[in-house]
Structures are given as structure tokens and as C-alpha cells.
Amino acid sequence: MTEFAKSNDTDTWDIKITSGNSYLDFHINELWHYRDLLMMFVKKDIITVYKQTILGPLWFIAQPLLTSIMFLLIFNSIAKISTGAVPPVLFYLLGTTLWSYFSETLNVTSKTFTDNASVFGKVYFPRIILPLSKVVSGLVKFLIQFSLFFIFWLYYVFVDKKISPNWYILLTPVWLLMIVLLSFCFGIIITSLTTKYRDLIFLISFGVQLAMYITPVIIPLSEVHGKKKLFFLLNPLTSLFEAFKFGFFGQGILDAKWLLYSATFTIISLAIGVIIFNKVEKRFIDTV
């Protein structure tokens, strides 16, 4: 455009839109600028779930409660699967609460690109905001469900006196953070891989269901023996769930070696997730 003024190439530019073939150009500042959007999405998720319902957020509590009763009937009463020294209700409540956080977050973040294609196709914002917002809104729901567990737990600790927690309970936020990160990372990896090839989506939806059976949600790890145990332990969630239970119930298996495995697993998948998400977000709209 010769008739327009020539610019000086040494100028500083605020935004550079390139083919985006480099793997490592993250914009932390930009993410910070959009923090309000993150909170807005979280608010939207929470508000819209119970609009036009009578019980509102109470529905969040019904879900783990009913699931636990179901587990109690089927796995405990009928199938006679022991939950060790932990009262079955408490065991199932914690298990389903943690598991539903993980599976729901994974399910929704793994559809980030496909579900939001219409918004992403019209306006730019750092795409990672969306899965992040799902992680946070999931946490709000988790906290409500967790407080239900907490009430039961208080009863069993102080009234029933069947279980005795220990100081490892203070590490709970660490285990929780790792579970949060794992669901987030798996989700963004899957959504990045499925923009072009949808096949994986089918695998994921029932794969997650199956994965529950190799996570100590119904069966405590102490009840699993032999080679099957290794199978459980290779699941990075297993040690985290067990550590959770160890703190609250004084029961469970706390193995530093396997916790380290889970931590390494989390960090590696975080790195992979962020890199491929960052790569895919630039051009997925052409193929979605």
C-alpha cells in the first residue's frame, strides 16, 4: 500500500497475529486482563443451572446423596463389597463427590472447542478461559456437595466416634488441586485432539464411566489385591483418592512413591495440555 505512510519496523506492536507455529507463546498478561470474563462465565454456569427450579442449588446435594444410597443398596447390601473400617455411607459420599467433580469437569472441558465453536468463531478471547471457568464453577458445586459429606463426617467423628481423622487432613487442598488439574488437563488435551478427529469423543464418554471402576470410589484400595492393585495404582487418581480418605478417615493407603507418581503425571499432562491447547486454539475454527 504505497500511498499510505510507511511504518517503522522497530515500532512496538501490541498484538502480532502469526501462523502460530511456535509452541511456546503464552500471554499471561492477556489472561489476567480477561479475569473478569472468567468470573462472569463461572457466574453464568452457576446461575443458569438452577434458574426456574424450586430447590435451586439444593439439587447439587441430591445427586451425591442419591448416588450414595444407590451404592449402599447395590454394592454394599447386595454385592457385599466391604468398605473396610469406614462406614459405607461416608465412604461412598466422599467417593462420588470427588468422582463426579472429576468426571463432570473432564466431560465438559473435553468439549470446549466443539461446544463453543459459535462463540469462538465470532470473537477473540483467550480460549483457555472457558475450560478454566468450568473448573471453577465445578469447584463451587463440589464445595456444596462436599459440605454435605462434611456434615455426615462430623457426625461419625464426634457422635458415632467410629473413625478418627489424622493430621494428613491438612494436605487435603493439595490432593484436591491435583484432582482439579488432572480433570482440566485431560479435558483440554481431549478437546484439542478432537477438533479434527471426532472419534475420540465416543471413546471418552464411556471411557470415563469405566475409569470409575479402577478408582477407589466403590472399593477401597485395601480390598484390591494382587496384580489388580497395580492396575488401580497406575491410575493417577487412585493415590489421590486414597490420600483424601486417609486424612479424613484414618483409613486408606498413603504411599509416597505413588503420590509422587500422581504428581509427576499431573505436571506432565499440564505441560502437554497447555502446549497443544495453545497450538490448536489458533486454527481450530477452520476444522471444527
Binding site: 500500500m1 500511498e3 499510505f4 505512510a5 510507511k6 511504518s7 515500532d11 512496538t12 506492536w13 501490541d14 498484538i15 502480532k16 497475529i17 502469526t18 501462523s19 502460530g20 486482563h33 480477561y34 473478569d36 470474563l37 468470573m39 462472569m40 462465565f41 457466574k43 453464568k44 446461575i47 443458569t48 434458574k51 426456574q52 459459535s118 462463540v119 469462538f120 468463531g121 465470532k122 470473537v123 477473540y124 478471547f125 479434527k196 478427529y197 489458533k282 486454527r283 475454527i285 477452520d286 476444522t287
Partner: protein, 420 residues
């Protein structure tokens, strides 16, 4: 005038799209590409892309939606991007708004940029007007504080105070669009990218949108406007970029670029004939046989100018004897009616008939016109009507004098007007 600081600079940007279905075959393409790239060779699919000409069948599975685009936009410029459908306008828009990224090349931008490719992106029907203002504002890149500052203005602009705490699903469509546009209009980016689809809707709303945009432009902010509507581009933009088949065909002052565009792109449809009665437009009462525009030109290849007299003829077959009259509308492509004329109602026998209308020279302005024809029985029953059968363009004649701006008005009659 502002300083000539460059705020947008596009360097050799190209965008390759894969044609047809994505699915089978892409894995093998991806693997081949990956194999070539790891050996340090060129991407095998980047070479074979054809230029983006939709009328021809593509020679390969890939096509360049944009190829080697270079331009600079200065601070305070209002730039129109024009071109036919498929010329790459939308792709360029998507690149500038960062919805997707180029296959090669680089765009550099200085300042805050906001793109309005759609109003109400991310509006949630269950949320109230208030909640949606905050959500939509945040999606468009505003912080909560900024939205809070603009909140009253937005509500005022949209005229929805009463319903601000009602879910937007209960809004009328007019309120919904006004609210959505209200949020968008109160963005304060240094560079604003606007798609013409925004300007759909009623004429009133269109005017409001364009008014808001020229308002923004007058505050020294940069606007990039993508449109088919030459009128809008002309009134809003000082400069224009004309895209053709993914490449820049012309760039410069709006009038010059638009003239170039019109002379190269507008295909007049001045004659249609239906040989097969079964497929001809019509019904059991009436069938069209032909429709044509016959300008009285010295040479057949001359363009129709504002001075040209034009005959418009419709031939039709009438199946039943009846009292018939024809009603003819001349419209602009935007749907504005220039005039409506009717014939007298006459008793016609079953058979072939023709009707001719003459539009005198020095009556129409330079514009593109389309036709609408109605066949009316007993001056009250519409037997058949058809829109947009014929399209023709009237161009300006060579002007004398120093002024070359767009001649205002939907018509341009020569009326007695004298200085005494």
C-alpha cells in the same frame, strides 16, 4: 488530521483452506505433511493450492482464501473492505479479529482491537439483561469496571430499563438486538472491526448502527468495515480495499476503488428466457416466458449510464381470460423501492402477451437496480409475483467540473432549475 501512525500492518498474509469434507483422508494428509516437514522439506500441500475462484472447479483439495495480502492502516483511518462473496473478506475479518490465524505471514496491531462480527455473542437466554450486559461486555474484552461505568448508557441506548432484570428470553427480538448492539457500541477500542451483517435489521436500526460508527470514527478511532453495501462504504470510509479471489485488486480512495469494483464485478442480468413452460416461473394462471432490459445504446457493449433510456419487457402466457394489470417495482438491492408503476387493467384472452415499460434517461441515479413484478386480476387479486428477475446497473456518465463525489438521491432527474 491525525498523525500517520500505522496501527495495523499486514505482511504477506495468506490463508489456505481445505476444500470439501474434513474427515477421511486428513490423517494421511497430516502424516504426509508431518513427514515432509520433519525431513526439512516444504509442506507438500502448500504448493498446490489454486486461487480462490469459485466459478471454476478446484484443481486441488486446497484453496487460498487469501494470498499475499499486504496493507497498512493508519490511525484514524476508516477503511472499507469490499469484494464479492468469496473474495476473502470474511477470512480477512477473521484473521484481523484473531478468530483464526493465517497460514503464513503476519499481522501487527497497535492498540486495543475489537471485532464485531455479530451482536450478542454469548448472550444467554436465561440470564437477565443486566447479567448479559456484563457477560457480553466481558466477552468483548471489557473489564467489569469499564462495563459498570458504561452500564447506564447502554441501558439507555437500548431503552430497556424496565426489563433490565428480566431474562432476555422474554425480550422482543427488537429489544434483544438493541441491547446486544448497545453493549457493542459502547466498547471503546482504538481499532474497531465491523462486519456488515451487523447492519441487517430494519432501516431504523441500520441507521443507528451506521450513525454510531461514524460517531466512533469522528473520535479519531480506526474503523475497518467489511461490506457489500457500497453506499455504506462510501458514506463511512475514506479509503477502501478491494479484494478479488483472495488478492488485493485495488486500494485507495473509496470512490476510485468502488468504481473499479463495480466495473469489474457487477454482472447485469438484463435478459432471461424460459423455454420450457413446465419449469418457467408461474402457476396455473400465468407463466413467464421472458423478461429483458433493452437499453437504447449506440454500441451494444456500452454501459447503461444515467442518460440511457431503458425499455423493460415482460412476456407471459395467460391460461384463463381475465381482467389483468401488471404492477412493476424498481428496487435497490437493499430493498428500497424507487417507484411502483401499474398498467391499466385490460381484458386479456388466453394466450401470449407482452408488456413494456420505458424508463426515460436522466431519471435514475447511478446505482444497481432490481425488479419486482406483480400480475393482478380484477385490480385486487395477485395471481403471481416475482422478485429480482432482472438486475442492472446504471453508471455515472463522465462528469464535467471538479466534483466527483457520489450524487445524492435515489433518483436523479433533470428538472428545470435556473438562476435568474
Amino acid at each position: 488530521m491525525m498523525s500517520t501512525e500505522v496501527v495495523v500492518k499486514a505482511e504477506n498474509i495468506s490463508k489456505l483452506y481445505r476444500l470439501g469434507q474434513v474427515g477421511t483422508g486428513t490423517i494421511s494428509h497430516d502424516l504426509k505433511r508431518w513427514w515432509a516437514l520433519t525431513r526439512g522439506k516444504e509442506d507438500p500441500y502448500l504448493k498446490i493450492g489454486s486461487t480462490n475462484d469459485r466459478t471454476k472447479k478446484a484443481q486441488s483439495d486446497y484453496a487460498w482464501a487469501l494470498k499475499d495480502i499486504n496493507f497498512e492502516i493508519n490511525k484514524g483511518d476508516t477503511i472499507g473492505i469490499i469484494g464479492k462473496n468469496g473474495a476473502g473478506k470474511s477470512t480477512l475479518l477473521k484473521l484481523l479479529s484473531r478468530v483464526t490465524s493465517p497460514t503464513s505471514g503476519e499481522i501487527k496491531i497497535k492498540g486495543r482491537i475489537a471485532a464485531l462480527l455479530e451482536v450478542g455473542t454469548g448472550f444467554h437466554p436465561e440470564l437477565t439483561g443486566r447479567e448479559n450486559i456484563y457477560l457480553n461486555g466481558a466477552i468483548l474484552g471489557m473489564t467489569k469496571k469499564e462495563i459498570g461505568r458504561k452500564f447506564d448508557e447502554i441501558v439507555d441506548f437500548a431503552g430497556v430499563e424496565m426489563y433490565i432484570d428480566t431474562p432476555v428470553k422474554r425480550y422482543s427480538s427488537g429489544m434483544y438486538v438493541r441491547l446486544a448492539f448497545g453493549v457493542a457500541a459502547h466498547l471503546e477500542p482504538e481499532i474497531l472491526i465491523v462486519d456488515e451483517v451487523l447492519a441487517v435489521g430494519d432501516a431504523e436500526f441500520q441507521k443507528k448502527c451506521l450513525g454510531k460508527m461514524s460517531d466512533v470514527a469522528s473520535h479519531g478511532r480506526t474503523i475497518i468495515f467489511v461490506s457489500h453495501n457500497m453506499q455504506a462504504v462510501q458514506s463511512l470510509c475514506k479509503k477502501a480495499i478491494y479484494l478479488k479471489a483472495g488478492e488485493i485488486a485495488d486500494v485507495g480512495a473509496t470512490d476510485k476503488v468502488i468504481n473499479n469494483y463495480l466495473s469489474r464485478e457487477v454482472k447485469n442480468c438484463i435478459s432471461v428466457q424460459w423455454d420450457d413452460e413446465a419449469t418457467a416461473p408461474g402457476n396455473e394462471f400465468i407463466r413467464l416466458v421472458s423478461a429483458r432490459i433493452e437499453p437504447k445504446l449506440e454500441n451494444e457493449t456500452d454501459p447503461i449510464t444515467i442518460a440511457t433510456e431503458i425499455d423493460i419487457t415482460f412476456e407471459f402466457f395467460l391460461h384463463h381470460e381475465c381482467n389483468l394489470n401488471l404492477s412493476f417495482f424498481l428496487n435497490t438491492p437493499a430493498g428500497l423501492c424507487i417507484f411502483n408503476v401499474t398498467t391499466a387493467s385490460v381484458l386479456l384472452k388466453k394466450g401470449y402477451h407482452a408488456a413494456t415499460l420505458t424508463i426515460p434517461g436522466r431519471f435514475l441515479n447511478d446505482d444497481i437496480y432490481t425488479t419486482r413484478i406483480l400480475f393482478v386480476k380484477d385490480t385486487s387479486v395477485i395471481l403471481f409475483h416475482m422478485d429480482d428477475i432482472l438486475t442492472f446497473e446504471v453508471v455515472d456518465e463522465a462528469r464535467t467540473g471538479n466534483w466527483y463525489g457520489k450524487w445524492e438521491g435515489v433518483v436523479r432527474p433533470t428538472l428545470p432549475f435556473k438562476i435568474s
